[in-house]
Structure formats: C-alpha cells, structure tokens
C-alpha cells in the first residue's frame, strides 16, 4: 500500500473518531427511559439535566406492547422509567415491573385535575404506580372536501361508502373502538365497558372489524403514516389523534376531527418507575419536573395532547394563544364522562366470573384479523 493510501486511510479514521470528542457527561446519575417519541424533547430535557445533574437517555418505543417488553428485558432493571399508556400500565403493575410511588413527593401532584389523580389505569388498591402525564381522545378524522355530510358517528368508519379510503390504528386496543360503537348502537349485547368483553361481545366486535377490513387502505402504525395518507389523498376518513389533525391543518390539508356522538376512547399516559431502578432520587426529580405547569404545557403543544396539571392551561396560552381551549385543557370534569380511557383488558372484569378476554386474546385476534 502506498504512502498516499495510508494517509487517506488515516484521514478517514481520524474523521470517524473526531465526533467522539466533546460529549458532555453529567455526574448526578443516569436515567434510562422508555418513552414515546416526542416525550423527551431537548426543550425540557436539557434544562432538567442542568438543574438536576441527572443524565437522560431515552429509548423510543413504537407501541405500548413494546414498552412492556422493554421494561422486562434482561429481567428488568435496564430502564428506570417508562411513559406507559393505559393499555400497558396495568400489565406493568400486575407483572411487578414498576414500583408504587409517594405522590406527596411530587409538588404539583395536588394541582392535577381530579380525574387524573388516581385513575384506574395507574392506581391499584389505593397505591399510586407513577404520575399521570398527558391524555388525549381518539378522534374521528375526515377530509372536509371528500366526506359530506360531516360525520357524527363512528359508523362512518364501517360504511362501505368510503371503501379503500379508511385508515385505523394498527393496534389491538382498536377492538375497544368497535366495542364502544356496539355498546351504543347494539344495547342487546350488554357491553358496559369497552375494555371488559366476554366471548359473545368480543366476537361481535371482531366481526364488525372483519367487515371493516375490506374498506381499509392501511392500518396505520406510525402517526406519520396517517398524516401521509390524508395529505396525499390515499385516505379520507379514519381514527386519529389530535396530533395528526393539527399537523395536517398546519400543512394546509382540508381536514377536521370530531368526537362522535358515541363518545371516544382515549389514552392517558403515566410515567412509571421501575422496581429495580438504581436511581430513585433522579427518578423523583424527573417526575416532579415533568409535572410542572410549564413543562406540561411545552409537551402538550409539542405533541398535541392535553396536560393533567390544571395550571398548565395558562402556560399553554402563553406559548400559543388559544391552545388551551383547542386541546380541552380547560375541560370540566363532566367532559371526561364521554372518554373511555385505555386500560389493559384482563380476565377478571369485576363480576366474579373471570369470563372476560384478556389482552393476549385481543392480540391474537388482531393478528388474525390483519393476516
């Protein structure tokens, strides 16, 4: 090899190593988190690291199910915190993966809206397994130019009028959306709670979804899937989050969303602490930080969801005028009667018979449905 080639090789090698220098290290400890993309933005993570001395590493998970698996990987203890949604939190609690926390150590806890202080998806037997963070409804999104009259019922998603132009989330918990629709339109099935279904009720929901399958363009897995589908004309109606709606409107797409007359399912995320965390002090610092009105507002606006801290409303309007009302952060308690928050389906649904279908069954049915 000639001298010149050596020089080239050395230059390439040096170029490769260069960025390795200049990485900052904090001394207060490290928090490894499993988070939804957008939940650990530099906007509020950087000041946290400065103020607390704790370093944050975030791993993004694609689904609630992935979060549960990651929390358990390596026998647990790889991760300190997880931003679990309601369809994961009970599994983590019953699986013994997360620990109960003391809400009195979180100064802002008392400022949470009542609904979110002890919700059933993170509070079991009076013990709090983490703090509620943000919530949002699953809305009905439609293209205002292609869909008329404006839909008012989830029935629009099962209507063959929009064949090949419908999109719904690729998530087993979507079965609850079908169950919610049946709960309101077919009272004879006797569905009381869309997450507590016995075999008959479950089969009815699945057959409704099977009929829907021929109408579906794509089961969206990423929020950006649905944004692309609507922006580029491939879908005109679908189940969505407020995030997609706002992004699409900002990009000039003719869309609108609505919480239909049947009500809606919704998600409520909770920061939970691993049972095996080695850095509980930092974890509490994070829980406190993420509950403060300003951080709550920043995250709400970044992600397009609604904070649980009632003082976040004013901060939101400071960041973006009118955003508080847009995301219903000022909603009265009565508003939540219409929202059925995600929770993990378990066999025991309180009637003493344990005849409900648990989440494993939901997952299997979903895989078979998509096939």
């Amino acid at each position: 090899m000639s001298k010149r080639s050596w020089a080239v090789l050395a230059a390439v090698a040096a170029g490769l190593m260069l960025p390795a220098a200049g990485v900052s290290k904090n001394t207060g400890g490290t928090l490894n988190m499993i988070a939804w993309e957008g939940y650990t933005q530099p906007q509020w993570v950087t000041p946290f690291q400065k103020q607390s001395g704790c370093t944050v590493h975030a791993k993004y998970a694609g689904s609630s199910d992935e979060m549960v698996t990651l929390m358990r990987s390596g026998g647990g203890g790889q991760y300190d915190l997880v931003s679990a949604s309601g369809d994961a939190s009970l599994r983590l609690i019953y699986g013994g993966d997360v620990q109960a926390i003391d809400p009195t150590k979180i100064p802002d806890y008392k400022n949470f809206l009542k609904t979110f202080q002890s919700p059933p998806n993170n509070t079991v037997g009076g013990k709090h397994y983490g703090v509620s963070l943000q919530w949002g409804p699953n809305t009905l999104l439609y293209n205002t130019k292609k869909v008329s009259p404006a839909p008012t019922s989830w029935g629009a998603l099962y209507d063959s009028k929009y064949k090949g132009e419908v999109t719904v989330p690729d998530n087993p918990i979507q079965i609850a959306d079908a169950a919610l629709y049946l709960m309101k339109t077919k009272p004879s099935l006797g569905i009381k709670d869309p997450y507590e279904l016995n075999q008959t009720q479950f089969d009815a929901a699945i057959s409704l979804l099977r009929g829907q399958k021929s109408l579906i363009k794509k089961y969206w897995a990423l929020a950006s899937d649905e944004i692309d589908l609507f922006k580029n004309g491939d879908a005109v109606i679908g189940a969505s989050w407020p995030y997609q709606t706002n992004t699409l409107i900002a990009a000039g797409a003719p869309v609108k969303d609505v919480v239909p007359s049947e009500g809606a399912t919704g998600w409520l995320d909770t920061w939970m602490v691993s049972k095996k965390t080695k850095n509980l002090a930092c974890a509490y610092k994070w829980l406190s930080w993420i509950s403060t009105p300003k951080v709550q507002a920043e995250q709400a606006i970044y992600f397009g969801e609604t904070p649980v801290n009632k003082y976040a409303c004013a901060e939101m309007d400071k960041l973006e005028l009118g955003s508080c009302a847009k995301y219903h952060a000022d909603a009265a308690e009565s508003y939540f009667k219409n929202i059925y928050f995600w929770k993990t389906p378990i066999a025991d649904c309180g009637n003493g018979k344990k005849d409900c279908l648990d989440y494993t069954k939901w997952q299997q049915a979903w895989t078979a449905l998509k096939g």
Partner: protein, 307 residues
Amino acid sequence: MAAGLDSPQGLNGRGRGARRRIGGALYRRPWLRGLSLLAPPVAAFTAVYVAALAVLFVSAFWGVDPFAGTLIRHFSFDNFRTLWDASVYHTIALRTIGIAAAVTLTDALVAFPIAYFMARVAKPRSRSILFVMVLLPLWSSYLVRVYAWRLILNKEGVLNWVLHGFGLPAANIAYSNTAVWIVFSYVWLPFMIVPIYAALERIPHSYLEASRDLGARGSRTFRSIVLPLALPGVVAGSIFTFSLTLGDYITPKLVGGSSSDFIGNVVFDSVGVSNNVPFAAAYATVPLLVMGVYLVLAKRSGAFEAL
C-alpha cells in the same frame, strides 16, 4: 489491523532469532498455523452466534406464562401446533416467501444487464463512476429511502403526476403488496448487481475469443459461456435479496397495505408485543428452513466461492 503481527522494527538479535524460529516452525507446520489462526474466530463465532441460535430454537419448544410473561421450560409442540392450525400463519408465510421470490427474480433480471454493461462494455473510467453510483445509495439510510418511496407511489405522488403528464391513467399502487415488492426490489438491487458484476468480470477474455474462433455467434457464446459462468454470481446475489426480504418487517410496515404482514412482522410482534419469544422462535424456523434449503442448493452451484 493485524497490528499484533506487525512487530516493531529494530528488534535485537535474540528477538529476531526467536521470531525466526517461531515463524519457521509455523511455516513448516501449516496445520499449526491454520489452527492458531482459525481457532479464535471460529470459537468466538460458535460461542456467541451459533450458541445463541441453538438456544433460540430450543426455546421454540418452550412456552410462556401468559400472566407473568415468564418462560416455561417444558418441552412441547404447542407453538408449532398453533402455527399449523391457524390459517393466518400459512397466508403470511406464503406471502413472505412469494414476495421474496418475486423480488429476487426482479433484481436478477434488472441487475444482469447493468452488471454486464459495467463488466464488459464500459470503459474503466465510466466503470468506476457506475460503481460509485451503484454503491453510494447504500450509504443513505435504508429507512429514509423506503420512506421516500411513499412520496413516489402516493395517490397524489410523483408517479401519478408523471403518468398524468403523459395523459395516462393513475396507478393506484400505494400501500399494497405491489408497493412492497417494488420497494424491496429497489433497496436490495445493489446487493444483486455487485456479485453478478464480479462473476462476469472474472470470465477470461480468452474464453470468449475461443468461442468466437470456434464459430459461435454472440448469442451462442452468451448462452454457453457467459451465462453458466455468471450463474454463481446470480445465486450469490439472490442469497442476499431473498434473505434480506425474508427477514424484514419495516418495509411492509411503511409501504404495505391492509394485508401486508410478513413473517418478520409476526415475529417482531410476538417478541415485542406479547414477549412470547418461544412462539416467535417457532415461527422463525420457517425462514430458517427456507434459507437452509436455499443455501444447500446455492452451495451446490458453487455460489459460495462467489459470495
């Protein structure tokens, strides 16, 4: 690289003597040299990779406690029975293998002419440029390239825009298995071009001259000389395109439609979703067996030499 073997200059006489003796001993006993060189990589590979594979496939016969998510180390065929009984897993396996085969065939047909052009027609300078053009796409993120295809195939995307410009009807192939096939063929194409190129380039010119001297026309030379000698390259490339498609789950997720799940998606969901590694392992035996058969056939055709 190999720094340990490149001893510093200016060793004293005794050091040199010892070095010479060791060197001589090793040269005279090639088996000793072979063993000392082969043992570390083979041992490392066996200890980490082969052992991992073995454990994984033993676990295909285990189960998982549905409530606590812990492994039950009890031998049973339950996972395989589930796979056999539920028709959905047959559909998905056939779809995966079918699309992988279609992608491989497409890539072979597209890659052969360009590899031929590069190896036997292009001048050295344009050959270098072509090589860089073929290889450079591999350096731009696979994910982003797949994602870019959505912009092309969308209902109001680039493809339909071009078709409209020519007054042709719109193609409605976004979010479908057709889209999956196109995008897979796209991303793995360089992995097919290069081995075919390498095989074609190795064909000695004298063979072609001999063929011509013996009176064969171009097409006959191509069929009787070029094609058989290039075949190992095609097979080598097909190992990549076939196996890469077989084990992928991201492209179907990004560009697939309402029934585009691959084996990889089910495996990934079984691990990621239900933490059911045994079931995932059981289903992963399907691509493993398919690739096993494929590799044995490939080995017969001498493709390993061309990999």
